[in-house]
Amino acid sequence: MNLAAIVFAAAADGADAGKAIALALGIGLGALGAGVGIGNIFGSMIQAVARQPELRGELTGIQWLGFALTEAVVFYGLIGGLLAFVLV
């Protein structure tokens, strides 16, 4: 199968392919950013607790707040992808 065949096959089913790409890109790029962000938050938390273990109680609340705020970014991507999938 050469490249032209793939392109024509995609073009024949272009609308659905575009939707699938939109959904996958929405989730994938969202997950990329959120993964970096969540890693950052937990990394900083480990450092902070290693330096000042007595602050763990106060930091835990802030840590989960940051975690949830960052994690939600994936879902904005997901919702954007779903909107593209359903509406377009």
Binding site: G61, L65, L69, A72, F75, I79
Partner: protein, 303 residues
């Protein structure tokens, strides 16, 4: 007692398998597996008041169940037979109260506003937690029917009312309205809306009119983005959690191979545990904490 409880829970969780087996035996219809069908809301009890649709759907039934359970749990833990030396039940109630006070209310609300707004944020946290939790317990509240021993019963399904955007948007709108009402009540109309402008801006002269207006519009947009982020965060978390579990279990039916069962059941259980142990509590906490922060920042603007 503990053993009886564990056995009963296991048997209850095995019930879906029974339902599954009975449909396979009956071999009624070959339907394509589609997890999004779980979010179709059919009117169970149609109530139409003019243009307003107040029909009772699956989401409404789950909401009613959630509110009832919230009231019962709080009454049982924090109102019923209180003693000066608390037993275990009362200790749990006091622990919930303390978490709601120190972790949620005092994080965001200024001291003078805690008396007025603590009940709101605490009940928000408890209500969302209970509704989320109820969403992960298999309950016979679904549109699918299953026949067991000749009796047609609603199939067990998992569905959370908070995985519907209208529910979470209503909760977010409550916070949104309260935020601005409190802001105007405490700072005056002009004082509150002027406080949206960041501190240290130049005076409003002709030269600065356009940049300052754009900046202010950005702040107004930011207020509405809070509404979107607050509602979509909870909605999408619960939606994605249920969708993941359903998709992994449904992989067996899509690929039509029972050999996938160990794989898909294992990952389904893994995500189930992740959702129940972490996401449910985190989302309830976040929603309430952010509501407290938003209301608190409107009562006492930083500048």
């Amino acid at each position: 007692m503990k053993r009886v409880f564990a056995t009963a829970t296991t048997l209850y969780l095995l019930l879906p398998q029974l339902a599954l087996a009975s449909t396979v035996e009956g071999g009624t219809e070959e339907e394509k597996f589609d997890p999004s069908r779980e979010w179709l809301l059919h009117d169970w009890v149609p109530i139409h008041l003019g243009p307003i649709d107040l029909s009772i759907t699956k989401a409404v039934a789950y909401l009613m169940l959630g509110s009832l359970l919230t009231i019962l749990i709080c009454w049982f833990l924090m109102r019923w037979r209180l003693k000066t030396d608390p037993d275990r039940r009362q200790t749990v109630g006091e622990w919930i109260y303390e978490v709601a006070q120190t972790q949620i209310a005092e994080q965001g609300l200024p001291t003078k506003a805690i008396g007025r707004w603590f009940p709101y944020v605490a009940s928000l946290a408890l209500f969302i937690w209970v509704v989320n939790m109820v969403g992960f317990i298999p309950l016979p509240l679904s549109d699918e029917k299953v026949t067991i021993l000749g009796v047609e019963l609603p199939a067990l399904g998992i569905y959370a009312a908070t995985s519907t955007l209208s529910v979470t948007l209503t909760l977010a709108l409550l916070t949104f309205v309260f935020t601005h009402v409190e802001g105007v009540r405490n700072n005056g109309f002009h004082g509150y809306f002027a406080s949206w402008m960041p501190a240290g801006m130049p005076k409003l002269t002709l030269k600065w009119a356009i940049p300052l207006t754009l900046l202010y519009l950005l702040e107004v947009l930011g207020q509405f983005m809070r509404l979107v982020s607050l509602s979509v965060r909870l909605y999408a978390n619960m939606l994605a959690g249920h969708m993941l579990i359903l998709t992994f279990i449904g992989l067996m039916f899509v690929l039509e191979s029972l050999y996938l069962a160990p794989f898909s059941v294992f990952f389904g259980t893994l995500f189930y545990a992740f959702e129940v142990l972490i996401v449910v509590s985190i989302q309830a906490y976040i929603f309430a904490a952010l509501s407290a922060i938003y209301i608190g920042s409107a009562i006492e603007p930083e500048h």
